[in-house]
């Protein structure tokens, strides 16, 4: 359960995407610990607005978030945080994006429109990202060019197929992200 005693540095990568896109599965496929959940409280405007005061009614909601761990060397540990991509969770993004190396954005090619809110958040928080197109068994692989165009991605943003259930495939998509992070350092 504990980290190796010499581990002195921790880094994090966010695994982001809409509900049901496979974030938790990807984390589970490469985490060295059984994925854990943290609960975070966020405040959000409840439905409707109080017309008299002009201020939204705030309610507190608890959001559960899955994460996993990967010890990469004697001194370095990587944490992967599955981060929900809805606008209403942006409060949580502030803490999570701080110090993050970057984000792997998982998309479902049959529900691409649901990824726009996610991409918007990733860009707003200034995270460098790569796209992993989750490929479910028994479905045809969507041409990556078409997905790139549909998502209106910048030319330099890497996009790869991945099967989130497969350890090597999940690792490859993370490697793609890290290589991209290095390349933009120049």
């Amino acid at each position: 359960m504990y980290l190796d005693p010499d581990v002195s540095n921790s880094v994090k990568i966010l695994i982001v995407g809409h509900f049901g896109v496979g974030k938790t599965t990807l984390i589970g496929s490469i985490s060295e610990i059984e994925p854990l959940q943290t609960e975070e409280e966020i405040t959000e405007a409840s439905e409707g607005f109080d017309d008299l005061s002009g201020t939204p009614n705030k309610t507190t909601t608890t959001v559960a978030m899955d994460f996993g761990r990967l010890t990469l060397s004697e001194t370095l540990v990587l944490y992967l945080f599955g981060t929900p991509g809805q606008e209403r969770f942006k409060e949580m993004w502030e803490g999570l994006s701080r110090g993050a190396l970057g984000a792997l954005v998982l998309v479902d090619p049959t529900r691409l429109h649901e990824s726009f809110a996610v991409l918007d958040l990733v860009e707003r928080f200034g995270l460098t990202y790569a796209i992993g197109v989750n490929h479910f068994e028994g479905t045809t692989e969507y041409p990556l060019d078409e997905v790139r165009e549909a998502l209106n991605l910048a030319a330099e943003t890497p996009i790869v197929h991945c099967d989130v259930r497969d350890q090597t495939s999940s690792a490859r998509s993370l490697i793609t992200l890290v290589q991209h992070l290095m390349s933009i350092l120049g």
């Binding site: 980290l3 490469i30 854990l36 540990v77 110090g99 090597t168």
Partner: protein
């Protein structure tokens, strides 16, 4: 703000109100006790000074007695919300009961080194 308990407060979800668990302390600054900060109990801390701790703080201390865990893992294992865990850790550090390893600040100079260590680690681990 009056000092007495808020009579309007409804305790619907938790048995013990959160401000009791945290002894009324507020959240530490955003950059403190981040998800990936690593914490462990100081040697010998779990005995003497720790006797007066709340059950929740005790639970955190027991968990991290034998090694380092991230703040997120402390929250995951104890089933306490992250905000509560951060407040408890601030209190425990103030009392000199824990050690904290903060994530190294991201400086461009070390960035390349860090990324290549991540890359090497992933490749070695998964042969990918």
């Amino acid at each position: 703000m009056p000092d007495g308990p808020d009579e309007e407060l409804e305790l619907t979800s938790v048995l013990v109100p959160l401000f009791v668990i945290t002894n009324g302390r507020g959240l530490p600054a955003d950059h403190e006790y981040e998800h990936t900060a690593l914490v462990t109990a100081r040697e010998g801390a779990s005995t003497a000074a720790a006797r007066a701790l709340s059950p929740e703080a005790r639970k955190v201390m027991d968990l991290i007695t034998d090694g380092f865990l991230s703040v997120a893992e402390v929250s995951g294992h104890t089933h306490l919300p992250l905000g509560i865990v951060r407040i408890l850790l601030a209190q425990l550090e103030e009392d000199g009961l824990i050690l904290v390893r903060k994530p190294i600040p991201r400086v461009e100079r070390v960035e390349r080194e860090l990324l290549s260590a991540v890359l090497d680690g992933l490749r070695t681990k998964f042969g990918a």
